[in-house]
Point group: C2
Chain length 272, copies 2
């Protein structure tokens, strides 16, 4: 894999749009989230509004469920104690899926049990059903989604979760995925697991404080994380996937002949 990356050209990489990139600032450092307005335009717009207002600043990560997700938002139990949403919307339509038309979709030829077709769209692992004309983002490691209650349209982006375990693909098409962590996953995946139901912390003191969540475009240039993400629609990416599907180094005695959507690495690199 490293050999393939070493042979990459500048055009094999892309720079995530700072206007659609979140910085989650923890005491342990920064987590970088690329938002996906092509899949969840209303949620992404609301999340960006919330970030501009400093909505999450001073809130906390309230949940860490082993082999599943971490989640942050407003832990206040009473409506009256909750942080005001400012100009952000309190309710949004469900954005579980989108029209497959007009969406560039780079197909992964490998079989998948959860979706008719899987692949990558805009750099995000995704599923597609061409018969139904629908596409959606997949719950792979690092996927960021908008927590909701029972009603499909009960999410507004204030409660966000990140997948930290085995891909819970049963959530696909059941909840709005808004983006993906592209750097700093290890700051989330190591958080102590909560011992309450669903991995919520039982004591407020166990929560992880959120210093701030900012849009990258609202952060001075010098403080931005200069990152590039490998494009997923290039011959080089296909080559990388094949190198992982059938590993040819001496260690592997039996190439798998298959790769799961959520086992495909999407490399990120720091740039000057």
């Amino acid at each position: 894999m490293q050999e393939i990356l070493d042979a990459s050209q500048a055009s094999d990489w892309r720079r995530p749009d700072p206007a659609h990139t979140l910085y989650l600032e923890l005491d342990s450092g920064r987590v970088v989230i690329e938002l996906a307005p092509a899949f969840a335009p209303a949620h992404v717009a609301n999340i960006e509004q919330l970030a501009k207002e400093g909505y999450w600043d001073g809130l906390s990560i309230n949940r860490s469920q082993d082999n599943f997700v971490v989640q942050w938002g407003d832990a206040a139990e009473n409506e009256a104690d909750r942080k005001p949403l400012g100009e952000a919307r309190a309710t949004l339509p469900a954005e579980f899926e989108r029209d497959a038309d007009g969406l560039a979709f780079h197909v992964l030829p490998d079989a998948d049990g959860w979706a008719a077709q899987v692949g990558f769209a805009g750099g995000f692992p995704a599923g597609r059903d061409t018969a139904a004309g629908l596409a959606w983002m997949a719950h792979c490691y690092g996927a960021v989604g908008a927590g909701r209650d029972v009603a499909a349209d009960s999410s507004n982006g204030t409660e966000l979760y990140v997948v930290t375990g085995q891909s819970p693909r049963q959530l696909d098409r059941n909840i709005t995925v808004v983006g993906r962590v592209i750097d700093g996953m290890e700051r989330l995946s190591v958080l102590p697991r909560g011992t309450g139901p669903l991995g919520f912390y039982e004591d407020a003191g166990q929560r992880t404080p959120i210093r701030a969540i900012h849009l990258a475009s609202d952060v001075p240039d010098a403080e931005r994380s200069a990152l590039e993400v490998l494009r997923t629609d290039t011959p080089l990416f296909d080559e990388l996937v094949e190198a992982r599907r059938n590993r040819r180094d001496g260690w592997y005695k039996r190439p798998a002949g298959h790769i799961d959507l959520c086992n495909v690495p999407i490399p990120t690199r720091a740039v000057e």
Copy 2:
């Protein structure tokens, strides 16, 4: 799922054999590993010998690679500094697969991209190829394997790893799986990620000390973890799998109609 478990009978549960159960004792508490002599008899026998000798006592967890594995063993770089193996064997045959004949295999009917067939054998997630007459344990979350070098027969069970991320099924049939963590995964999955190559810690001080690894049968009754694991070969288990394959509660708007081998929960419960 809880409703189904609440309706379970004593016969739906099994008690892992203490003679084939390891207790990994960390400062944070105990991790319980069920060994699988039916799949890896030589490795399991060697691991049990090493545990009896206290081989790992005072060694450490030396590697934590995000979304992949933690690993422990002897971190000494020079052969001369390594802990002696005592009566344990220094080399073992590879036990990547076993004969499928004579192995009770409870088939999971769901499609799988990595194996002709998947299911459960002796309570362990497993793959099978009936044409080839072979079966093997699958690298799901919590799987415990024996690290090796390039040679297929270079593992002896001293270096053990545990899967802490998205199921790395490409390792199936390439390395000897020796068992599965049945309790305490959250003590391993939160370990800080190492910043060296492959997630090894760069400083010895970052390693997690191992107080001891004992066989449960060598621990006094009063100090044993009294655990039962749900049997995977019962109608109740099938019912539980179906409840997860097609979730019928109000929250899910679209049952997946599918479940991946590594998304099937195998519940454990504490007993008196």
